[in-house]
Symmetry: C2
Subunit: 327 residues, 2 copies
C-alpha cells in the first residue's frame, strides 16, 4: 500500500532548486576537524548564514514570490516575520522588482529591522504580546491587492527551504556518505519539513530531528502527542527566530510523518554554541540558528559513530547581543 | 629562453596537496552576492579562517613537519610566531606526535597563546622590542636537537601555503572562470608566494597583489625598489599577524617575479572590513586576515568587470578586540 502523498514532494524541491539556482547561494557543507574531534563523530554543518540575506529564509521566499503570476506582481507582497523571513521576502521582492511590506514585532533585533529596510521594504511594527500579526498583514494585503507570503505554512515556501536538504543530500552523496542524523531548528517548521522531505527521498533510513529552544518545544510536544500542541513557555528566549507558538498545519502534516523526535537546548547551551562557533568555527551564528549545534555540543544527541548533519539556519544577530554571547 | 627556476614550483605545491589532503580542510570558494553587489564585480573569497587552527598556516606547517625524517622527529620542533604559525605548527606536531615548542611575543593575542597551548605545545614568551625571537628559537633547537620550522622563508612552508592558490585555481576552473586579480596579505610573504606560484602556473595572465597594513608596507616598497626593503613603521597595527619588518629572502625571490604590485589598508579600513565580514558575510576574520578585503572595500583595487579573488587568511581574534571592531 502506498503512503498518502504529502503536501510537498521531492519533485517540488527539485523545481524550487531550478528556480533558485541563479539567485540563491549554494552553501557549502563543512566538516570542521575541531568539531569532529570535540564530539567524537563525523559532523557536517550546513552554514545557512552564508545564504543571501544571512539565513535560509531567502530560499522559501524567493520560490514563493517567483510563483506569483506577472499580472499579480504589481500589487506587491506582504509578509509577517520576526526578522529572517522579512529579509528573505524583502530581498526576493527586490530581485523580482516587487513592492514589499513587512509586519515585524517591535522587539525584533534592530539589525533585522534595518536590514529589511535595506532591501527596500516598508516595515510596519506591531506589539508581539497585544496584536495579531497575521490580521495586520491580511488587512494590508486586502487593501493593496498584495500577495501574502506566509513564513512557513505554504507548500512553495517549504519546497524552497527543502533545497537546503537537497544540497545536503547531494554533497553527502559526493562524499560517498549517508547522513545518519539530520538536525534543523524549527519555529513554524518549514525548514525541517522541507529538509526532511529532501533527505528522506534519498536516504529513507535517515533520522530527522527538530531542535527547539527549551520551553519553546511545541514541535517536540506535538511529535510526542501525534497532534499539533502549543508550547507552554511564557516570556522570551534568546532564540528570537524560534518563538512560534504551535507548529504549522501543513508543516506538521509533513513533520509528523518524517521526523523521529525533537530535542531542546537551554539559552545557556545556545549561548555556549554561539561562542564555540565564533571561537572555533569562525562562523557568525544567531542564537536561533545555533540551537541544533547547542544540543549536539551539550550531548543531547546520541551520535556514536554516526554521520551527523546540523543545519545552522542563520546569522543575523545584533552586535551588542553577539558581543555579550561570545564574552 | 627559459626563465630561471624559482625556489618553489607548481609540482612542489601538488606534492604538498597530497600530503595535506587527509588532514587539512579544503576550504570552499565563496562568492557572496552582498559583496559582489557592493563592489560591482564578481568577487571570490577564500575563507582560510575555516582551515584547521583558524588560519592558512596549518598548511605550510604540516607540509614542513611531514618532511622531517622519522628518526629526527623525536627531537621535536621549534617555531617562532606571533600566533597563527604557532598554532599551525602546534596542531601539525600534535597530529604527527611530535613535541612542539613555540617562541611567541608576550603581546600576542591571548587567544592565540591559549590555543597554541591547547594543541599541546610549550609556549616560550619573548619581548618583541628587545629580544631576537630567531636567536631564542635557534638556541632551543640546538639544545634539544629539535627541527626549526620557519614561519615563511622555507620552500616546504611556501609550497604548503601554495595549496590555497591551487584550490582557488581548481575551483575557478570548475566555474569556467579565470581569476583576473588575486589578493592575499603578507607578513613574511609565504602565503602570497605560494598562492602566486600556483595561480600563475595555470593562469599566467593573473594579476597578483600583496595586501599590507598601512605603514607596514615592506612588500609594497620592495616590489617598487626591486629589492628587499624594510617598512618604516614604528609602533603597532591592529593586524598583529602582519608585522614582519622585511620580506623573506626566498619568498621575495618568488614574489619579485610573480607579483604585480602591493596595496595597503589603514587600521580604520581594516576595522571596517572586519565589521563588514561580521554583519554581511557572517565570517569571523582577524584584522590581519581582512587587509585584502579592506583594500577592496575601500576602493584601492581597480576591479572593473574583473574576477577578483581575495584570500581571507585567518580568524584568530580575541573576543574583546572583536567586540570592539564590530561595534
Amino acid at each position: 500500500m502506498n503512503a498518502p502523498v504529502l503536501p510537498v514532494t521531492s519533485a517540488d524541491i527539485d523545481a524550487a532548486a531550478r528556480v533558485l539556482a541563479p539567485f540563491a547561494v549554494r552553501t557549502p557543507l563543512l566538516s570542521p576537524p575541531v568539531l569532529n574531534e570535540r564530539v567524537g563523530t563525523r559532523v557536517f554543518l550546513k552554514p545557512e548564514m552564508l545564504q543571501r540575506t544571512g539565513s535560509f529564509k531567502f530560499r522559501g521566499a524567493f520560490n514563493k514570490l517567483s510563483s506569483i503570476p506577472p499580472a499579480a506582481r504589481a500589487g506587491g507582497v506582504v509578509a509577517f516575520s520576526s526578522g529572517n523571513h522579512a529579509q528573505g521576502v524583502a530581498a526576493a521582492a527586490q530581485i523580482l522588482k516587487m513592492r514589499a511590506t513587512i509586519v515585524m514585532p517591535a522587539d525584533a533585533p534592530l539589525s533585522k529591522r534595518e536590514r529589511t529596510k535595506g532591501y527596500g521594504a516598508e516595515v510596519v511594527l506591531y506589539d508581539r504580546d497585544r496584536e495579531d500579526r497575521e490580521a495586520i498583514a491580511r488587512d494590508i494585503a486586502g487593501k493593496r491587492g498584495a500577495t501574502l507570503a506566509p513564513p512557513y505554512d505554504d507548500p512553495l515556501v517549504i519546497a524552497g527551504q527543502g533545497t537546503v536538504g537537497r544540497e545536503i543530500a547531494e554533497d553527502m552523496a559526493v562524499l560517498g556518505l549517508a547522513p545518519d542524523i539530520v538536525v534543523a531548528p524549527a519555529s513554524g517548521g518549514g525548514l525541517i519539513a522541507g529538509v526532511a522531505t529532501a533527505i528522506k527521498a534519498r536516504y529513507p533510513q535517515a533520522v530527522l530531528i527538530v531542535a527547539e529552544p527549551a520551553g519553546f518545544d511545541d514541535h517536540t510536544r506535538s511529535l510526542r502527542a501525534g497532534k499539533r500542541e502549543p508550547h507552554r513557555a511564557e516570556g522570551r528566549t534568546i532564540c528570537d527566530a524560534l518563538m512560534a507558538s504551535i507548529p504549522g498545519e501543513i508543516t506538521f502534516a509533513i513533520n509528523a510523518r518524517l521526523l523521529t523526535q525533537g530535542i531542546t537546548a537551554s539559552d545557556a547551551e545556545v549561548a555556549a554554541a554561539v561562542g564555540f562557533a565564533f571561537r572555533e568555527l569562525k562562523l557568525v551564528v544567531e542564537p536561533g540558528g545555533a540551537v541544533g549545534l547547542a544540543a549536539l555540543l551539550a550531548g543531547h544527541i546520541d551520535v556514536g559513530g554516526k554521520n551527523v548533519v546540523i543545519v545552522l539556519s542563520g546569522g543575523n544577530v545584533d552586535t551588542d547581543m553577539f558581543a555579550k554571547l561570545i564574552s
